[in-house]
């Protein structure tokens, strides 16, 4: 049978008994759930028994891509990793990029389904249909950079997913990395790899991705290229990466002292921000198929860390997180980023946790003896590095941090953590609504079944202060119907966030399922009409824009239901109490959570109302926050109806 767009095969690997089995891609499932995240969630629904311990051999890891990955559709390298994540206990589909998914498609596979546990360290090699579980004893104990470079040396032009020491020690903050240019699996994917003794995966292939209607595909693809050629900021984005938007992000994420204080951003700009960044050495790189590359290898030209290089998706993250820990300059930021990436630790989660501990110490709540004698000193890179090493290797109090917020709840009591943090579903939110206002990304941290993350809420309101006309244009790009637009923009606050988020979630599900990069710089070129053209032309499965949105809604409901089956419901979507307490700027001004356009202060009742609107817009039960039988039947998810009984 000929497959178009899809590679056409799935690979089942049982690490316990070493059995490797190839199966044809189930085309009915592909049609119904699109690919990537959609197919992976559906596969996991059958493979995962509810209540399974994430670290047990029975918890599968599914890694693969969508039908557009491997094609020349711009920015379509997305690789998804679906599993039950240990940090939150939720099933999620994490997104990564670079070469692995792309190469896996050329090797002939859409997805790999990994179960079991190897008796010794192994890595999985996929070179076309030469698939092997290889000994990785020589790689165990090595960091992500060493592991990746070792496999690059052996396999040449390939894609590598690797994990570091944090994964080997089953850390809940442990994430893998793809080709040293993208993280994969915030929330402990690498910890699950560790539990399976799986150090890495490598793929390369000489196959082809066939296109059902090449002329039609070409037309849609060229439209996107024309858009990128006309884009005035193309050069700046390649030159500065995501730092081009520093002025926006430093405001959105610039806070410290456990989210109570907004420091003087001018000081940060100088030492760590855009001015400092411009002095770093830089080599730009991008994922396969990207037409607006924004990744980079940065290099220190001076100071204590002179000569240090760091291959990263964004210097920006380290700059912002260094702010949280009061690190002083770009050299310390690069060192922090480089070491977290080597060990395979979630930078976002780790910096929030350490900031929390430092703050407790500064308030006099805890002392050094409460953290096993580890140093409690903010603003010292060596202290941060010590904590990182201890966390990765689960040494001393590092063993507590390695379990993320659950670890701290066990150590200091649940109330202390819940009272003082924005922890939602076991993980602290990234987007701080008291600074940005409660936009889509902030609000969707409550509803995202995986637990709060950078991509929560898709891209509805990515940046600060976008004019309402821009947001309306984006709504059309996302394929919202006129009725959905009317409902979402019928609000005295200009946008009903609860309703609007549902559409940006569908847009995210579509990108995650087809294989398109959701980064703002790529996302902005796409329109639902173009996506429908690319998908239909590539696969030969003719879908209208409206149908694709409906299918994305199906994927989202499946994603929800698989987590409902694990016991998640409205209680897990509640806003954290700290959102209703003020933050303070360095000038002493109090910041309260307001709406996106900063029209007025929001109360808990406002947020609760938007949650009810969210459930209502989705056709879910507004009391329980879970899908209704009617909704599941409407979406063709009858097989999930029994999951409602629980």
């Amino acid at each position: 049978m000929d497959y178009f767009g899809y590679a056409g095969k799935e690979l089942y690997i049982d690490l316990t008994d070493g059995v490797i089995e190839e199966k044809p891609l189930n085309l009915d499932m592909a049609v119904k759930f699109l690919g990537g995240m959609g197919i992976q969630q559906r596969l996991l629904y059958d493979l995962l028994k509810p209540g399974t311990d994430p670290y047990s051999p029975e918890n599968p890891i599914i890694i693969g891509s969508g039908p557009l990955t491997g094609t020349g559709a711009p920015g379509s390298p997305r690789v998804m990793g679906t599993t039950k994540y240990p940090e939150t206990g939720a099933i999620g589909s994490a997104g990564g990029a670079m070469r692995f998914g792309f190469m896996l498609k050329f090797a002939g596979y859409d997805h790999i389904i990994i179960t079991g546990k190897a008796s010794k360290p192994v890595y999985i090699k996929i070179v076309n249909d030469d698939v092997e579980i290889c000994d990785a004893t020589h790689l165990w104990g090595k960091d992500i950079v060493e592991t990746t470079e070792n496999l690059w040396d052996v396999y040449g032009d390939c894609g590598v997913i690797a994990m570091g020491q944090a994964g080997e020690h089953l850390g809940k903050l442990a994430q893998a990395a793809c080709d040293l240019g993208s993280s994969l699996g915030r929330g402990g994917l690498a910890g699950i790899m560790g539990s399976k003794n799986l150090k890495a995966l490598v793929a390369s292939g000489t196959g082809s991705i066939k296109i059902a209607d090449a002329e039609r595909f070409k037309k849609a693809r060229e439209t996107l290229f024309e858009g990128a050629k006309r884009y005035a900021y193309h050069g700046d984005i390649v030159r500065y990466g995501i730092m081009q938007s520093w002025a926006n992000y430093r405001v959105q994420f610039g806070y410290t002292k456990n989210r109570t204080l907004v420091p003087d951003l001018k000081i940060i700009d100088k030492g760590i921000g855009f001015e400092a960044y411009k002095k770093l050495g830089k080599t730009a790189f991008g994922c396969p198929s990207c037409f607006i590359a924004d990744k980079e290898i940065v290099e220190m030209h001076s100071g204590r860390f002179k000569g240090l290089k760091w291959s990263t998706a964004a210097y920006l993250n380290a700059a912002i997180l260094s702010t949280r820990l009061d690190l002083k300059d770009s050299g310390e930021a690069v060192k922090f980023g480089e070491v977290t990436d080597r060990l395979g630790i979630d930078q976002l989660g780790f910096s929030d946790l350490l900031d929390f501990i430092f703050t407790l110490h500064e308030e006099g709540t805890i002392g050094s003896s409460d953290v096993g004698g580890l140093p409690l000193k903010r603003g010292d890179i060596d202290v941060v590095l010590t904590w990182l090493e201890k966390t990765a290797n689960r040494e001393g109090f590092g063993n507590v941090i390695a379990d993320s917020w659950q670890g701290l709840m066990n150590a200091f009591g649940e109330d202390l953590v819940k009272d003082k943090t924005a922890v939602i579903k076991g993980r602290e939110g990234i987007w701080e609504p008291r600074i940005s206002g409660l936009g889509t990304n902030e609000f969707a941290q409550l509803t995202y079944p995986r637990g709060p993350n950078a991509e929560s809420g898709g891209s509805g309101l990515y940046a600060l202060n976008q004019p309402i006309e821009t947001v309306r244009r984006h709504a059309q790009r996302m394929g919202m119907s006129k009725e959905a637009i009317d409902r979402s923009f019928d609000s005295p606050l200009k946008i009903n966030i609860g309703r609007f988020v549902t559409s940006s979630e569908h847009w995210l599900a579509l990108f995650n399922s087809l294989g398109i990069c959701n980064r703002h710089v790529n996302n902005r070129f796409y329109h639902i009409d173009i996506i429908a053209e690319l998908y239909s032309a590539a696969t030969g499965i003719d879908q209208s824009p409206q149908e694709l949105i409906k299918y994305s809604e199906r994927v989202w409901n499946l994603f929800k239901m698989i987590n409902v089956r694990e016991g998640f419901s409205k209680k897990d979507d509640e806003p954290p109490e700290v959102w209703f307490q003020p933050m303070v700027t360095h000038e002493g001004k109090e910041l309260y959570m307001m709406d996106y356009y900063k029209t007025r202060r929001l109360t808990r009742e406002d947020v609760e109302q938007w949650l009810r609107d969210y459930y209502n817009e989705r056709g879910w039960n507004i009391e329980t926050g879970i899908p209704t039988r009617e909704k599941l039947v409407e979406l063709g998810l009858e097989e999930m109806v029994p999951g409602l009984q629980k």
Partner: protein
Amino acid sequence: MKKILMIDPDNCVGCRQCALSCSFNKEHLFSLAKARITTLWAYKIDMNVPMMCQHCEKPLCLDVCPMGAISRSEESGAIVIDPDRCIGCRMCMVVCPFGAVTWDEDAKCMIKCDLCDSDPECVKHCLYGALTWLPADEAAISRRQLGAGYLAEALIKLKED
């Protein structure tokens, strides 16, 4: 003045749209193996290097072909393969210093860049300036200017030190 395809690895980000565009244009599908150009990630020097036929003035592939299947196009100046004459002995692949001639398992024939009749598809899809299609004299001037830039940088550094 004939145009030539210039490569500037400093600008290459490794997106491989050149290879994807090439295989799509030639074969109506996407494949790295069937692309006549590729970029390779040389991590030890932090550089993506586009690899393709240089359409040499003294092409070893042309010299070595026992069937006379390789010739230079009068119009574009490209070194091209006549698939009807190619017997798949792979001698051209062996002698090419750039690995620019490859084997197409499906067509049972050697394949290589033919400059797309002087309108190279790869260049049209390189948005980073790593591939350019320039008159030969302009290309030489542009290389010289680039070289002058490097020299100036080195001299400035020398002075600073």
